[in-house]
């Protein structure tokens, strides 16, 4: 009976007394590791040069916002694109299926940096040749770099997530859809009430990983002059002649971001009704 998967009930971890919870952390080798980590942290704070940090905080904050804005908007728009991309590959008419499949294959098979430059230099130059576009209200935006960064990141996320959604749509057991049809649901309702929510549930566990990959792809936009977090840190390094300190800060910020994302999505997943 491949149609039925028996999900294990999600139980909240039993609340252990504090001592019992700390016990695994107090094993000798772990204590040694923790000691080393603390020493390293102390050395980083006291031995290195952080005097530049307060002055650059506003710029770093702005860079962080740009990175987050690019991440959130490209994930949201990319996900919205991934839904039809995935669905069409499972049920669409043949030409649409090929188109979606081709799109995903091409984007996933070529370097993101290349796509970014092609879109930025290619599309940017193309737009500039049309007086209609130059005269339109869009032009002030199209002259900047970030729309091209956003577009490229969106297409990339759509292609990867589209592939995930294809698998998720295809993996919804036929019987559940058949039951919906047997009760007289119109096709669109079957999609809206059963097929779509079930596919999203199935895709959710991999979503966290995909978003973190996307986060790590965002620094590429610095190569087309978008001043994201990475670009700001690069400027700090050029201005202060410091090699390591700004990079350490950058690592710490990216780690915090991906950690928060992982936790947030795990929380979300736990709240979604089980039954996978």
């Amino acid at each position: 009976m491949p149609d039925i998967d028996i999900a294990t009930p999600i139980r909240p971890a039993p609340a252990l007394p504090l001592r019992a919870r700390l016990a695994p952390l107090l094993m000798p080798h772990r204590l040694v590791m923790a000691g080393l980590a603390l020493t390293a942290l102390a050395a980083i704070v006291t031995q290195m040069d952080w005097s530049w940090l307060p002055g650059y905080l506003p710029k770093i904050g702005h860079g962080l916002l740009v990175t987050l804005a690019l991440l959130v908007s490209s994930v949201a728009a990319g996900f919205a694109l991934a839904l039809p991309l995935g669905a069409v590959q499972v049920t669409g008419p043949a030409p649409l299926r090929w188109l979606a499949n081709g799109f995903c294959t091409v984007i996933r098979g070529t370097p993101l940096l290349l796509q970014l430059w092609l879109i930025y230099y290619g599309l940017g130059a193309l737009f500039a040749q049309f007086p209609e576009i130059r005269a339109s209200w869009l032009w002030p935006y199209l002259r900047q770099a970030w729309p091209y960064g956003f577009l490229t990141l969106t297409l990339s996320f759509a292609a990867y997530q589209g592939e995930v959604m294809r698998g998720a749509f295809a993996g919804v057991p036929r019987g559940e859809l058949e039951a919906a049809r047997a009760f007289g649901m119109p096709r669109l309702m079957v999609f809206r009430r059963v097929w779509f929510p079930r596919a999203v549930h199935r895709a959710l566990p991999t979503l966290a990983g995909e978003i973190i990959l996307q986060l790590k792809a965002t620094p590429l936009v610095a190569t087309i002059t978008v001043t994201d977090l990475y670009a700001v840190i690069t400027r700090v390094r050029q201005a202060t002649y410091l090699t390591y300190e700004p990079l350490l800060l950058l690592i710490a910020i990216y780690l915090c971001l991906s950690g928060t994302l992982t936790l947030a999505l795990r929380w979300l997943e736990g709240r979604v009704p089980s039954g996978r």
Binding site: I4, M185, P186
Partner: protein, 257 residues
């Protein structure tokens, strides 16, 4: 037999998958209150016949009418048929309830959510009313305490009873069962059969594909024996099980017993 409009009427139904002819001219009538048990060997076409009744499979030829209303069909290019009127198809389907071998509950909804889904979404019933009625039918199948559970957290027997509640909630003209206990562990079969037996005692119209011969004998008002896509013998249960005429049926009953 009374002469009320048949709940389900099948006339000369044919179905083939590619070159394989699975149903070779089946005619069958279920009047309101009939409990028709369909028996037969594996691959004899029982599921296919049942699934034609709500057009989960489209017949290749023949006619099917639900409560006197025949499905509007039109010929396809490859010589078969297809539903010609989606609206009508959906309206008729909403009056039939199907219970599947593998339950096919919607796992992202609770028991209550599963039961109110069709009344609210398809039949347009106000939510409060649907919930009230859902609680009644859940009570009937013995799942009153389980309304907030998700299907994955219930036993197979409970899931199948929930699937039956989902059907009852639409107050169908006829209920279609496709081997409702075949996927269950032996110790869970009884609780589901008990529910179906109660429904049969209320004289609800049902067509029931089953391998449980003792059960078919008990609850059916009419038994149909399918063999290679044809109805080889049919009649009241006493006759089919007590005095079968066809040698195939005699052998089939001996092999099952």
């Amino acid at each position: 037999m009374n002469n009320a409009t048949p709940a389900v009427e099948i006339r000369d139904l044919h179905k083939h998958f590619g070159r394989l002819e699975v149903l070779k001219g089946i005619s069958l009538t279920a009047r309101p209150g009939d409990v028709v048990a369909v028996i037969g060997g594996s691959g004899s076409g029982k599921s296919t016949m049942l699934r034609c009744i709500n057009m989960l499979e489209t017949p290749s030829a023949g006619e099917i009418a639900i409560h006197g209303e025949a499905y509007a069909m039109r010929p396809t290019r490859d010589g078969g048929l297809e539903p010609a009127d989606r609206r009508q198809l959906q309206r008729i389907r909403a009056q039939l309830g199907m219970v599947f071998q593998n339950f096919n509950l919607w796992p992202h909804r609770t028991v209550l959510g599963n039961v109110i889904e069709v009344p609210v979404q398809v039949l347009g019933m106000p939510r409060d009313e649907a919930v009230a009625r859902a609680r009644q039918v859940l009570e009937r199948v013995g799942l009153a305490e389980k309304e907030d559970a998700y299907p994955a957290h219930m036993s197979g027997g409970q899931q199948q009873r929930c699937a039956i509640a989902r059907v009852l909630a639409v107050e169908p003209l006829a209920m279609l069962f496709d081997e409702p206990t075949s996927a269950l562990d032996p110790e869970l079969v009884g609780e589901v059969l008990t529910v179906i037996r109660d429904l049969a005692a209320e004289r609800r119209t049902m067509i029931l594909v089953t391998h449980e011969m003792g059960f078919a004998r008990d609850v059916a008002s009419h038994v149909v024996y399918l063999k290679d896509g044809r109805i080889e013998e049919q009649g009241p249960p006493e006759q089919i099980f007590g005095d079968p005429r066809s040698p195939h049926l005699q052998q089939f009953i001996r092999s099952i017993a």
